[in-house]
Amino acid sequence: MSYYAVSEHWLTYVVVAAGILFVLAFTAAVLRRALRHARKLGFTKEQLRRVVRIAVSCTLVPAVTVLIGFLLLAPMLGIPLSWWRLSVIGNTAYEIMAANMALSTSGASAASPGTASGTDFILVMYVMAIGIMGGMVLAPLLSKRVHQGTFRIREKDWRWGALGVSTYIAAVLLVFTVPMLFRLSAALLTLVTGAALMSGMKWLAGKPRAGWLGGFAFTISTFVAMVLSVLWDRLLV
């Protein structure tokens, strides 16, 4: 069978649907337990609804870029596999790299998989799964210990516990953002724009009757910064 005959076969849709349902069920189980314990900890229904509203609002813009990633992948991987890969671990760039590496072993290319076979498509599925499974193996082995270590640090000295965790977040952000400062680029200008907009939104949210803006500051500043990135890109060409 040909590559596309397998990638768009009804059985491929069925196995992917089963996978998506598993992820949905797992997500629902996590959410249910977390909400139940949140109520026991004293969070009110209104507070939890607020968390949900903020999470939905902050997800919208990045989720659209995931959709754009799907449109890039679908011509290469077919609809069901693209849907599956963007619902689980990985991102568009990784999937393209993995598909290319897999297809190159049989002389085909991810840019034009039409000449590849059904076996090649299944090879791509295996390679995409194995190449990125490190986190899924390491998390069950390490995460509980790391998590308990965080609690122990906090029990010894709650001040240092709070500061230490925030330092982790800041260090990760540093490694991603400092390199952007080295070259005048649309990315740098977008970074600065995003920061300026976020500062402005936070200032506005502090004004009377504008507190509601706080929940949308991240979404609005990210979206507007992305729109303006098109202008920066044109200006720097």
Binding site: A63, W84, S87, A171, V230
Partner: protein, 273 residues
């Protein structure tokens, strides 16, 4: 009577240790299930179509990828678990960590004034990541249904440019939370905390500025097939993060121990000890 009242009071307190343990059990089970499904899908299709590839061919393509991504997988587990707690499993399973899940959790922590690294933060992170995952899956599903009418719009060059700049836009917004406030969440404020980030920032700047020279000196560029190019802040960025985390941690700790960084509760907030 007093004993029964005490027992009832103790039984009604939320058992945080049991909750955390149960979430880790659920997470581990979920990861094993997801792994079985990820590998089971191609196996089912391969058997049905009698088109299973050879093990050698699979490993030939997969092992290099595993080697490239293992450091970043390790850094994700080590650096995100203190922030996300037991939500790490769902976060890793559904992906889009730095672009979506981490920013969502960061914003929710700020707005709800929750201190990272607490049971409250663990619970709120789990809710936020679950909602973010569900919304993303819904939007992608809707997008699949609307693929044909949406395609001309989403294929526009300007839309692609904007999409390529999501990451710097997100980073800019997150940096404001990091640089322009002393608020750590939960009513806790840290004054002077940026001092602890000076050394790691300088190190990252030096690695970026001299990337190609250091890569050539250590022969990393030729080893990775990128002769003449800097690889440390690109291909090996995962290693850099693993190396920078302890620098930031101990640099901040030293200044904290010396009193150059102070952490206090906002007036009126009860101490959480």
């Amino acid at each position: 009577m007093l004993k029964n009242e005490k027992a009832a009071e103790n039984a009604s307190k939320p058992d945080n240790a049991r909750y955390i343990a149960s979430m880790h059990r659920l997470g581990r089970g979920g990861m094993i299930g997801a792994l079985l499904i990820m590998l089971g899908m191609p196996t089912v299709l391969g058997v049905y179509f009698d088109a299973l590839p050879g093990v050698g061919q699979i490993l030939q393509a997969a092992i290099p990828l595993l080697i490239i991504f293992l450091p970043s997988n390790l850094f994700e587990v080590l650096s995100y678990t203190p922030i996300l707690g037991s939500a790490i499993y769902l976060t890793l399973m559904t992906g889009e960590v730095i672009n979506l899940k981490l920013p969502v959790v960061n914003v929710v922590f700020r707005i709800m004034a929750v201190e990272a690294g607490t049971v409250e933060a663990d619970v709120i992170a789990s809710v936020a990541v679950s909602i973010a995952s569900l919304v993303t899956m819904l939007i992608v599903a809707l997008g699949i249904a609307l693929t044909l009418p949406l395609q001309p719009v989403l294929a526009l060059p300007s839309v692609k440019i904007a999409s390529n700049n999501l990451f710097p836009a997100v980073m800019g917004a997150l940096l404001v939370n990091m640089l322009l406030t002393n608020d750590l969440g939960g009513g806790i404020y840290a004054r002077g905390r940026l001092k602890g980030l000076v050394l790691p920032a300088v190190l990252v700047a030096l690695l970026t500025g001299f990337d190609s020279q250091i890569s050539a000196f250590l022969h990393l560029d030729t080893l990775l097939g990128q002769a003449g190019n800097g690889v440390i802040m690109s291909v090996l960025q995962g290693f850099v993060i693993i190396a920078i985390l302890p620098v930031a941690y101990f640099s901040t700790k030293r200044l904290y121990n010396r009193g150059a960084i102070t952490v206090d509760l906002r007036k009126g907030a009860p101490p959480d000890e």
